[in-house]
Amino acid sequence: MSTNMLSIKDVSYCYTGRKISTLKNISLNIHKQEMILIAGRTGCGKSTLIKIINGLLLGNGGGKFTGEVTSKGFNILTLTPEEMGLLVGTVYQSPDDQLFAMTVEDEVGFVLENHGVDNEIIKKDVKETLNRVGLSGFEKRSIHALSGGQRQRLALASVLINKPQILILDEPVSQMNPAGVREFLDLLKELNEEDGITIIVVEHRVHELAKYFPRLIMMYEGEIIYDGDINAAWSKVGDEIKYGLREPQNVKLCRNLALSNLTSKTDEVINLIKNECFVDTAKCNSILEKRERKVVLEAKGLSYCYPGAHSNTLNDINFTLYQGETVALMGYNGAGKSTMFNLIAGLTDLTAGKLRLLGGKVTDNAHKLGFLRQDPDLMLLADTVTKEIYWHNKNLDDAKIIELMKHLDLADKAEDFPLALSKGQRLRVVLAALLARQPKLLLLDEPTTGQDQQSLLDIKNIIRAYTAKEGTVFFCTHDVELAAEIADRVFLMGEGKLIAQGTPQEVLTNKDLLLAGGLSIPPMLKISEGINIAQCVTVEEVSRHVHKAIMGRSR
């Protein structure tokens, strides 16, 4: 662990045309066989740091670089980007954007071809590498025929074949469901332990990845504000909202209960609670509030089959959505969640069944709902944020729009170009444009994917404010914690069927259902079982059963 692979000393970088440096006096050492997680808010300089580490900004990056980057004693400024590729391999966020060939074997062998390696050796290495990433037998497969997870593995294999000593992955799991995330991270851990590769991952989902990465580097406005043991990070940078660190639920619970140690390990939290708190083991079932509410959406026997497909993507789906409620739709990638949203929005026609929206046909009322697609960037088309909100919304009340922009923290961005804003801001602009029309139902397809902690909080607040005004939110997510926190009900999908619907306490505490839906078991469920209280899925629920035994302990 002590061999130094890469040393970055006092590095600053300022892009051409910018006044403020994106990286400011960064210094860090990367050791052999380390697993490092880099986190921080959108725009804090993570991507620039990656480009410094993989050498793409050194020498010919077009900006002003100062400092020193060395590997095993020699300055890597002397290496070309291609030579750097032998030292550092990089897997970018979207596998679709980096794959170049048509078949799996050609893609993986691309780098060796470029280095003039013999065909027979390339074939052998391709086979071995594909085997390593779990794509054995896919050699002749078209890259377009692979699933999202398989494409991510292919992107990894295409870099791995070069046998890099450091592997960098930029938000590799942002679009995966929890089961997919676990499999992918297990693979990374295996590569780290067996092949001795140093792994650096940039991700917002720190709460899910924490157990795999002993070292955390936190960035804020171009500086490293924390570099060290991930378990010590919670007490040092975890409670500062501005840093945008998304703590694991276990840490939040420790903080909430003012336990003597902040830890993400479930066993340790259980022991701490048992030793330091009074636990009320009386089981009290949560009572679902029953109110007379207007039906917003009603689905009966909903089925859908894609043209040319042999089987239905959706099968006999039945549910009702009521005014003012928030419902989470969860399940595996490819379970049919997006298809369901497309049907509700009237983008595709049903194969069988009935769907009534706002008391009428979907075709008549679809324009009255707001639908935020998975990639909000595709919905941005105007030159300024104000124009974006007014697009096709000419008759809006100006005062309401100003209020809406203030509420979404966009007031000072009114004249900015929407596509040049940060990821979270871009999402809020689209939401503002949708909310300006005051839709009765808001469909959100994975709204928190790739968003930092601050944006996540913003989205939660927007949803709460909207439902408080009797709006209905139906959102798709893989984030169990988010669903448990803001959803009134959870729908779980598996293989085109609705396998469960109920309150988060009913659905998210059933381990068989969670497994069937490709979801992870909420940490609070394990904790509640460990301390023998009613099954809980949120920190607040556990806190209701657990009280501090020692009075006056400081946080």
Partner: protein, 290 residues
């Protein structure tokens, strides 16, 4: 089959896919020169039929044939109709009178609207030229790995950077096609009326911004990815042998092109007064078939 799948390359099993990139580009360039050189509609039609036969041999899917047929019809008939109506050269023979020159206002303004026989023929020639290129272009696009064409261009000593830029467009065709659909869907979702929600055409003027922004971002990632995988590394690059059979085939095609162009040049020279009696068989052949 989705719009995205339409622009994705076929599986590697097809013989057309397996052809060396240089052979594909050589055929494409040669046929392009032939299509420009030849003026005879029958020969052009034969050349066009030849490209269709290649599609049959490459087992182009029914869906792709449908798209191909639509594009062909639009191009061929569009060219013929427009030339038939607006053919300006003389002599011209009116076949049908659509608007009489005596017709109030329109007749006076247009001096009458006719369908001209020579216009149809001229339109057919132009339409066949574009159809030949469309047919062969689609065949290569549907059966080529961008990497394969990249290797071909680099083997011909084109700068790797320029070659990459040329081929990136091909790589992004499926993505662009699918994202155009996505953007239009997104724009429909931004509409607040039933008519706008169902319309596609109304949103077309707005697709450029989001598409361009996405393409720039994607192109940057792809460039970073291939750079770090050593694509621009020239020192160790292997030279790939052009398969013997393909090389012979391409040599024959190039020879045919050279002969065709040469005979056309000497024929045109003869029309300018540079007549050589010994070449009269070539003049006859060129007049009949080219």
């Amino acid at each position: 089959m989705s719009i995205k799948q339409l622009w994705e390359g076929a599986d590697s099993n097809s013989w057309m896919t397996r052809l060396d990139g240089r052979s594909k580009l050589c055929i494409l360039f040669s046929v392009a020169i032939l299509a420009i050189t030849i003026d005879n509609p029958r020969t052009l039609f034969l050349l066009f039929s030849g490209t269709l036969l290649l599609h049959f041999a490459a087992k182009t899917s029914i869906y792709k044939w449908q798209v191909f047929a639509l594009l062909l019809l639009l191009g061929l008939w569009g060219s013929m109709v427009s030339q038939a109506l607006f053919f300006a050269q003389t002599p011209r023979t009116p076949l049908v009178m659509l608007i009489s020159p005596d017709f109030p206002l329109l007749g006076t303004l247009t001096n009458g609207l006719f369908i001209y026989q020579e216009g149809i023929l001229y339109g057919a020639i132009q339409g066949l030229r574009s159809s030949i290129m469309l047919s062969l272009g689609l065949l290569i696009c549907w059966n080529s790995d961008p990497r394969q064409l990249l290797k071909a261009l680099v083997a011909w000593h084109l700068s790797p950077q320029v070659a990459f830029m040329l081929v990136t467009a091909l790589r992004f065709l499926p993505v662009l096609a699918s994202e155009t659909g996505e953007v239009i869907t997104a724009l429909r979702l931004r509409s607040n009326s039933k008519i706008d929600r169902q319309s596609t055409w109304r949103h077309l003027p707005y697709v450029v911004n989001p598409l361009l922004a996405r393409c720039l971002r994607r192109a940057q990632t792809l460039a970073l990815s291939v750079v770090s995988r050593g694509f621009f590394l020239t020192s160790n690059k292997k030279t790939y042998d052009w398969p013997q059979k393909e090389l012979i085939m391409c040599s024959i095609i190039v020879l045919v092109v050279v002969l065709t162009v040469s005979s056309k040049i000497v024929y045109l020279a003869s029309e300018q007064g540079y007549y050589v009696g010994a070449l009269r068989y070539i003049y006859d052949w060129t007049k009949l078939y080219l």
